[in-house]
């Protein structure tokens, strides 16, 4: 762990200043990703997981703003970059893949135009060379007959193929980090399997770090090295995939895992987390999960800090009463 991490986020706060009040979409989020590592960022809708991704890409628009915190890319701070500096970074050193590939690709431009643009925007290369690199990228993501596909328009591709093109564009300049925001959510199971397989191999071969944002714990289970769980703008728990899924400490993580159908007896009611995700406008001080938590006590009125309750383990949790004794097998 002595090498500089590809990405290190420290105490990131992204707030939205709306008429109804300040929405703390990302509130004191810290994590690091090393070379070739896949970090799964898991949370439900409105938990701030996408906004964390957008903040890292410098894509927060008004009324939102990164209020404080550091974003370090290969040891260089980038959070205070101006627009021109961000532009030289995006698509070059860091790239992003979005949920809906139809929204990311320009419908009136051919695939080769869009792909070559991503190269020529950052480097001075000849057209022939740029085209050759685009072709290789398409081969890399498993698109058959790449030469003809380069001449096609986005609407001529299926959903899975479009997502592959989006991934190919992200890979063009061999970025250090790719932020993936629910890239397989809109896809079918068999196509999702193909994309996950390809991302895994690419990551391993090129040493690209991945931030994989998703709501689906089972996708992360097979893919990620480490997992961070977000709730109401804060990371409530993070650790290695095995730690977090095997012995969740935070009541929210445990609740999420227990509510997955495959972990329940067939036909019997599922374990459920009562209540709803709170509106980010109305969170006062204290633990945001306390209203839905069975373990809440008086102490929860003050926001808990990170602790590492298991000695010798780096698994961090923001909770006063973590599930430390539930680690024995078969306790559920």
């Amino acid at each position: 762990m002595s090498a500089t991490p590809v990405l290190s986020v420290e105490n990131l706060r992204t707030h939205f200043f709306t008429k109804a009040g300040i929405v703390k979409a990302v509130d004191d989020v810290s994590f690091t990703i090393n070379k070739g590592e896949i970090l799964g960022l898991v949370g439900e809708s409105g938990s701030g997981k996408s906004m964390t991704g957008y903040s890292i890409m410098g894509l927060i628009d008004t009324p939102g703003r990164v209020v404080s915190g550091k974003i370090m890319l290969n040891g260089t701070e980038v959070s205070n970059y101006n627009n021109a500096q961000w532009r030289s970074l995006r698509g070059n050193r860091i790239a992003m893949i979005f949920q809906d590939p139809m929204m990311t690709l320009n419908p009136v431009l051919r695939v080769d135009t869009q792909m070559m643009e991503a190269i020529t925007a950052h480097e001075k290369v000849s057209k022939t060379e740029a085209r050759q690199r685009c072709r290789n990228a398409l081969v890399q993501v498993g698109i058959p007959s790449p030469d003809e596909r380069l001449l096609a328009y986005p609407h001529q591709f299926s959903g899975g193929m479009r997502q592959r093109v989006a991934i190919a564009i992200a890979l063009l300049n061999k970025p250090d980090l790719i932020v993936c925001d629910e890239p397989t959510t809109a896809l079918d199971v068999t196509i999702q399997g193909q994309i996950l397989f390809e991302m895994q191999t690419l990551c391993r071969e090129s040493g690209t770090a991945l931030l994989w944002i998703t709501h689906d714990l089972s996708v992360v289970a097979g893919l990620a090295d480490r997992v961070a769980v977000m709730y109401a703008g804060k990371i409530v728990e993070q650790g290695t995939t095995a730690q977090l899924l095997g012995s969740p400490l935070h009541p929210y993580t445990k609740g999420l895992l227990d509510s997955v159908p495959s972990r329940n007896v067939k036909g019997k009611p599922l374990q459920q987390i009562p209540g709803m995700t709170p509106s980010l406008l109305q969170i006062g001080a204290g633990c945001a999960f306390r209203e839905r938590c069975a373990r809440r006590a008086a102490a929860c009125e003050a926001a808990p800090a990170f602790s590492t309750p298991i000695s010798g383990s780096a698994q961090q949790v923001r909770c006063y009463y973590p599930h430390t004794n539930s680690t024995t097998k078969g306790a559920a």
Binding site: E44, I191, F197, L223, D225, S259, K268, P269
Partner: protein, 340 residues
């Protein structure tokens, strides 16, 4: 066994699109080249000769990827689409020979819950009207009793009756899903078709809604056709699972049997594909290729271009001959040439 609640016999649904001038021109050019006669319509076989039997009290899961015709089949079941071919029986009675009164009673008994809780509720209606309109129209309750009845329905699905004057946009996704369920239940159906009813919901909310389905089934003795692409949800709820691929049923079996020993190569691939919590850092192995377009499905077995076993079947049968759904064990059917 007794008469099934619902039976579909060799039912098909085709969607036809008249080609515009350019389409016709291209088609006639193609026909001069290939020698086939030119057609002026484009036909999608959304559902192709499907048999389906559902008994009272059963939960049947219908699984497939996008474009396989599972939603169309769901709509055929409740009668939202008219079948192009085939027959539909309700409690043993052919629906096409029913009198208007009988057909109406049947329609009330079978209700549908839609995928998108945003699009399926009228944004200008208050919740009390959304839930209360149908039972009053159909004479389930009088308009004097409507308010009480709505409150009762809202309580049944876990909504606070004091919210009945609100509009759909004032509710969260999970609550809206509950409104959709309350609306379907308000006409006292026996049979519910749930088309991806929990797909749009967050994990923790999804568990709440699934629990509601389980509770309602026990309380009201409901029969479900549960349409989903999420195998873990289907596995949890269903007694029997039907797998569809490109308009055809490829396999049907009791849930445990299907998940423990899938027969059809497509089912096997689908089950291997599903990410689970139990497998850490797994090597993803993919079913090759794309889902073909239903406009121009492959000949023979629809799955043969992606099937790892297609080459093993002698005489290119997979390519030329459509495998029929055959019984391979008690209550188990599969459509694959490998079973012979």
């Amino acid at each position: 066994m007794s008469t099934p609640l619902l039976e579909l016999k060799s039912i098909s649904k085709r969607f036809e699109k008249k080609l515009d001038f350019i389409g016709k021109f291209a088609n006639s050019l193609a026909s001069t080249v290939s020698g086939k006669s030119a057609t002026s319509t484009e036909v999608v076989h959304a559902v192709d000769r499907v048999d389906l039997t559902i008994y009272k009290g059963e939960v049947v899961g219908l699984v497939g990827e996008s474009g396989c015709g599972k939603s169309t089949l769901g709509r055929l079941v409740v009668g939202l689409h008219k079948a192009s071919n085939g027959e539909r029986f309700w409690r043993g009675k052919n629906t096409s020979t029913m009198t208007a009164t009988e057909a109406r009673a049947m329609q009330l008994e079978a209700q549908m819950i839609f995928q998108d809780p945003y699009a399926s509720l009228n944004p200008r209606y208050r919740v009390e009207d959304i839930i209360g309109e149908a039972p009053v129209v159909h004479g389930v309750v009088t308009s004097a009793e409507e308010a009480d009845y709505v409150a009762q329905m809202m309580q049944r699905v876990g909504l606070d009756p004091s919210l009945s004057r609100r509009f759909p946009h004032q509710f969260s996704g999970g609550q809206r899903a509950r409104i959709g369920i309350a609306r379907a239940l308000a006409v006292q159906p026996n049979f519910l078709v749930c088309d991806e009813a929990v797909a749009a919901l967050d994990v923790s909310i999804q568990a709440q809604v699934l629990n509601l389905f389980i509770k309602l089934r026990e309380e009201l003795n409901l029969t479900y056709l549960f349409i989903s692409h999420d195998l873990s949800v289907v596995r949890h709820l269903s007694d029997r699972v039907v797998i569809m691929y490109l308009g055809r049923v490829v396999e049907t079996a009791p849930t445990d049997v299907l998940f423990n020993s899938p027969n059809h190569p497509y089912t096997q691939g689908l089950l291997a594909e599903v990410p689970t919590l139990e497998v850490r850092k797994k090597e993803f192995v993919a079913i090759k290729g794309e889902i073909p377009s239903p406009l121009n499905p492959p000949t023979g077995c629809h799955f043969h271009p992606r099937c790892p076993h297609a080459a093993k079947v002698p005489g290119d049968r997979c390519k030329s001959e459509q495998p029929m759904l055959k019984m391979i064990a008690v209550n188990r059917y599969s459509a694959c040439h490998l079973n012979e």
